[in-house]
Symmetry: C3
Subunit: 130 residues, 3 copies
């Protein structure tokens, strides 16, 4: 399994990791059918969405903040419950088809590492599936 | 990888693609362990939920519209930010077990292509995993 | 495919099935690259999140109840529409990497069976992927 590092620079940030994943897949010479792109964290998720216009990711962060308010009195005493919920709403991983050694994504699709409790040094795991 | 076509007929519509996926799996004679059912779009997702009562899908569309309001002032200038967010909340793909060449789903489960920015001609990709 | 049984004891409950899944994976002697942990139900999902502090799961249940209110007039006459929506927001399955026969999860991550319409006897399916 590949373990890659990503750095988030703010509390909430969608990092476009498409080039990172593409390079890992295409550099490996794999004949895999797909790969899992997995976040080993509980306050950061992974999603696929439009990466042509960066405003889409900014809007998604805003929408997820509206969905789970920070100011509620949560039981979890670390105070980052909303980050946990936002991560689970998007999901911990995506599974992306691979064709002839290349990532198969739609025209407008990119893969995002979704930080909700940064800034931090984070990991992205990539697992090939036959 | 199989690339199938689906037609949505309204802005928001859950299309039950269970028969389409079942036929693709069972017609292929595959010995795969699972398949990815993948939307290559950024304003349409895939989910698994009840398909016995069509009211469940209608309610889900309504719930997703309540969750992400259309009338907010979003940064993304195409005006379809809520469709992007709804697609990511459900997810871009599902991974479905296959057993002895047949799709393994629970009694009430169906696979839905979830259109949030239609009507359009869309694609569904199916990738087998061993 | 492995079919395991879990018992929920309340209407909404996150059951930490990490030990169950770990035992199934590690007891199998598998050389798989990953496994799908799949809920064959339409009012219960699967998610990965923090399982060190049980308050995180309690907060997530509360957040999901805030997101999809019970008291709305839904079309689906069984009255459990919110449970269907909450299950799809989290997702029907997770795909978890396996390394050298062991489940590969981040330090704080656990796998939860997410009951939204209990109490019931439920199933969890585990499918290995190469």
């Amino acid at each position: 399994m590949l373990r890659l590092s990503v750095e988030s620079r703010s509390v909430a940030q969608f990092i476009d990791i498409t080039p990172l994943v593409r390079q890992a897949v295409e550099g490996s010479g794999t004949s895999a059918a797909a790969c899992i792109v997995f976040s080993p964290h509980t306050t950061a998720g992974i999603t696929i969405n439009e990466h042509a216009d960066p405003a889409v990711a900014e809007d998604m962060i805003e929408a997820l903040h509206q969905l789970v308010p920070n100011e509620h009195r949560w039981r979890h005493l670390e105070g980052n419950t909303p980050a946990h919920v936002r991560a689970s709403l998007l999901g911990t991983s995506v599974t992306v088809p691979i064709e002839e050694g290349e990532l198969a994504l739609g025209t407008w699709q990119g893969i995002f590492f979704c930080e909700f409790d940064g800034p931090r040094t984070r990991q992205v795991w990539i697992r090939f599936l036959r």
